[in-house]
């Protein structure tokens, strides 16, 4: 188990390195000049040069790359300013330290992902299992039809409609906004409720269908027939045995989903104006803010890789054949 984890973590580090490198060089392949952008309308060649020097853009690309990488491990100096490790640089746009901005934005993204996950996993898996157990019955057909609708709507569309109906008109739900959890817990939950529900509707549909189909497969396994032949109750058959075979595909898909969500739910955050990593990604790309883009990519890739390691470890927990081979 330990060797497995060490191997996975080394692999993860390698992937992050490749992602950083690729993003960095891709950035220099695009024609935008970030110094030109932050120089403004009244730009003189002197100011431009000064900005270049300040941002480190006057150096060669490999030198900048090296500064960036080494900054992560040992920190780096910007003129008088010292940026301690792990240093992800300063924003080209507002000169804020990238790391601080990321840490500032991450809780919103995490809150969104956490709450939505709780809702869509509970609903999706619950409904999927019920549908599988009633396969072919009206309950199954109804939920499958509903989930098809759920899976076909987009978050923008659903978000705007739901906001108009449930917040503006009916006033059933509070106005969507982000309030930090520790400042005001009820406000946190209330403000995120609509974003959670919107994201959950779309996702739950996916998990309902996935759970149903893998549960249907699992219920047809020979070993499930055996436990029925042993006289176990339907609750034991499903709750103790059949789910073990059905959970793996769900876990796989959720692992990828979680990685994506933690890298910023771009559409949801934009639709509901939630200041998370997703919104940050959009604005930093629009501003050609290289250090910020790098930071966002790093956090998104990190989340993806971490979710992957966790999922792999869970496979081993679930399936002794993985653990013992």
């Amino acid at each position: 188990m330990l060797r497995f984890l060490v191997r996975r973590l080394l692999g993860a580090a390698l992937i992050l390195f490749i992602v950083i490198t690729a993003t960095f060089f891709l950035f220099f392949a695009v024609p935008d000049d970030p110094a030109r952008l932050s120089c403004g309308k009244t730009c003189t060649p002197d100011t431009l040069a000064a900005i270049r020097a300040n941002l480190g853009l006057d150096q060669s690309v490999p030198a900048q790359y090296w500064d960036y990488l080494s900054g992560i491990f040992v920190g780096r100096d910007y003129g008088e300013m010292r940026c301690d490790a792990p240093c992800l640089g300063y924003s080209f746009v507002n000169s804020e330290p990238v790391l601080d901005t990321l840490l500032d934005r991450f809780p919103a993204t995490l809150s969104l992902a956490f709450g939505a996950s709780v809702i869509f996993l509970t609903v999706g898996i619950g409904v999927g299992v019920v549908a599988a157990l009633n396969r072919g019955g009206w309950l199954d057909k109804t939920t499958m039809a509903l989930s098809l609708i759920g899976a076909s709507v987009t978050i923008q569309f659903l978000g705007v409609i739901a906001r108009y109906v449930f917040v503006d008109e009916l006033r059933w739900l509070p106005k969507p906004e982000y309030v930090p959890l520790l400042d005001d817990t009820p406000g946190w939950a209330g403000g995120l409720l609509l974003p959670w529900l919107t994201l959950a509707v779309v996702q739950a549909a996916v998990y309902t269908r996935l759970t149903r189909s893998s549960m249907v497969d699992s219920l047809q396994e020979d070993y499930v027939r055996t436990v029925r032949a042993k006289g176990l109750t339907p609750f034991q058959v499903t709750g103790k045995h059949a789910w073990r075979g059905a959970v793996t595909p769900v876990l796989t898909v959720y692992g990828i989903e979680l990685g994506t969500l933690l890298g910023g739910a771009v559409v949801t955050e934009t639709t509901f104006n939630i200041p998370g990593i997703g919104k940050l990604a959009v604005s930093s790309v629009a501003n050609s803010d290289l250090p910020m883009i790098m930071g966002v990519v790093l956090i998104a890739a990190g989340a993806m890789v971490l979710a992957n390691v966790v999922v792999d470890a869970l496979y081993a927990v679930i399936d002794p054949r993985v653990r013992l081979s």
């Binding site: 032949a229 006289g231 176990l232 002794p320 054949r321």
Partner: protein, 367 residues
């Protein structure tokens, strides 16, 4: 094998003799199946997987069920345990198990019987055992389901059973998962699990098909030994007539969801009456036969169960078919009473078969 065999037969005869000799009315058999029908609704139509099956099994005896793939052997057994999905299947007829009607019994009632009084083991123990729980847990779970035993007692019972089916170091091996066992050991564990509550009836659906030849014999020996100790009746489904010859008291030959021949093992194997049984026997390699004799499987393929042939379902493949065979379905009867209606009381010792041929023709054909 033979030693086990004779002891077992003695036991069984003794058990059977009690009722029959002391009591003028024959005692009710352990399992009494009459006119069992199992149909499945599918997209293509109604599959008549079992279509009027009648047989009996006495306590402690072994019934061999043989027949080609798709003849309805597994469907019959799953119907006895009530394991078919009621939403997709219709089951009719009667199956009385020790005075309890299995067909139409409430699911709750059947659940209490399954694993306690009727157990089943399957062809492939690797897929039939859950990969997610230890062998010990799977055995103990069955025991706990049907007794008031606590976790510790059930565990001790699992060790005891595993030891009894001949797994060395049982106390240690109960912590293993099925994939850590060899094929033969898995089937032993499966048997331990099925017999943990000492059921009256064990249904073994091709228990040795997935195993090596040497292991097959060991598993059959083990079953015979446990049967002798526990007095369990066994329904043994197999493709192997050699196995039937060794272990079964009675044989039921199935074709297209029906019994085509039914009688004691000696009768059916030594004086087979049905052309399909003749085909099966001639396709079987015999140890005492000529080694160079080529294997002759029954020519042709099994009929569609959606749209079975009229009359005798075997007629498209039968070399002895006459006009009557195409129009009229033969009933199970003693051959002397054929053709037409007859005394259709199937009873081991009264070898019966479902064929229109008269005795003389049959004798001519087999001679």
């Amino acid at each position: 094998m033979t030693a086990v065999q004779s002891t077992k037969k003695n036991m069984a005869d003794a058990a059977r003799g009690n009722g029959a000799a002391a009591d003028p009315a024959p005692a009710e058999p352990l399992l009494d199946v009459a006119d069992l029908k199992v149909r499945f609704r599918t997209e293509d139509g109604i599959v008549k997987a079992v279509d009027g099956l009648t047989f009996r099994l006495e306590r402690g005896r072994t019934l061999g069920i043989v027949g080609e793939s798709g003849s309805g052997k597994s469907v019959t057994n799953l119907a006895l345990l009530g394991l078919h999905n009621p939403a997709r299947s219709t089951i009719e007829g009667r199956a009385r198990f020790d005075g309890i009607d299995l067909i139409g019994a409430p699911e709750r009632r059947l659940r209490d019987l399954r694993g306690r009084r009727l157990s089943m083991i399957f062809q492939d123990p690797l897929t039939a055992l859950s990969p997610y729980y230890t062998i010990g847990e799977q055995i103990a779970e069955t025991y706990r389901r049907h007794t008031k035993a606590d976790r510790k007692a059930a565990r001790a019972r699992a060790v005891e059973m595993l030891d009894r089916v001949g797994i060395p170091q049982a106390a240690r091996r109960i912590r293993d998962y099925p994939h850590q066992f060899s094929g033969g050991m898995r089937q032993r564990a499966m048997i331990a699990m099925a017999l943990v509550c000492e059921p009256d009836l064990l249904i073994a659906d091709e228990p040795t098909t997935a195993l090596d030849v040497t292991v097959q014999a060991q598993i059959l020996d083990l079953l015979g030994e446990l049967q002798r100790d526990l007095g369990t009746a066994i329904i043994l489904v197999t493709h192997d007539l050699g196995v039937v010859e060794d272990v079964a008291d009675d044989v039921l030959v199935m074709y297209a969801g029906r019994a085509v021949e039914y009688g004691s093992t000696a009768e059916v194997l030594d004086t087979p009456q049905h052309p399909y049984t003749w085909g099966l026997l001639s396709s079987m390699p015999r140890l005492d036969g000529d080694v160079d004799e080529p294997l002759r499987p029954v020519p042709g393929s099994p009929p569609s169960l959606l749209n079975p042939p009229s009359g005798c379902a075997f007629h498209p493949r039968c070399g002895h078919a006459v006009e009557l065979c195409r129009t009229e379905r033969p009933v199970l009867a003693r051959p002397a009473l054929a053709p037409g209606s007859g005394d259709a009381v199937p009873w081991p010792g009264n070898g019966v078969s479902a064929c229109h041929l008269d005795t003389a023709t049959r004798e001519g054909a087999t001679a």
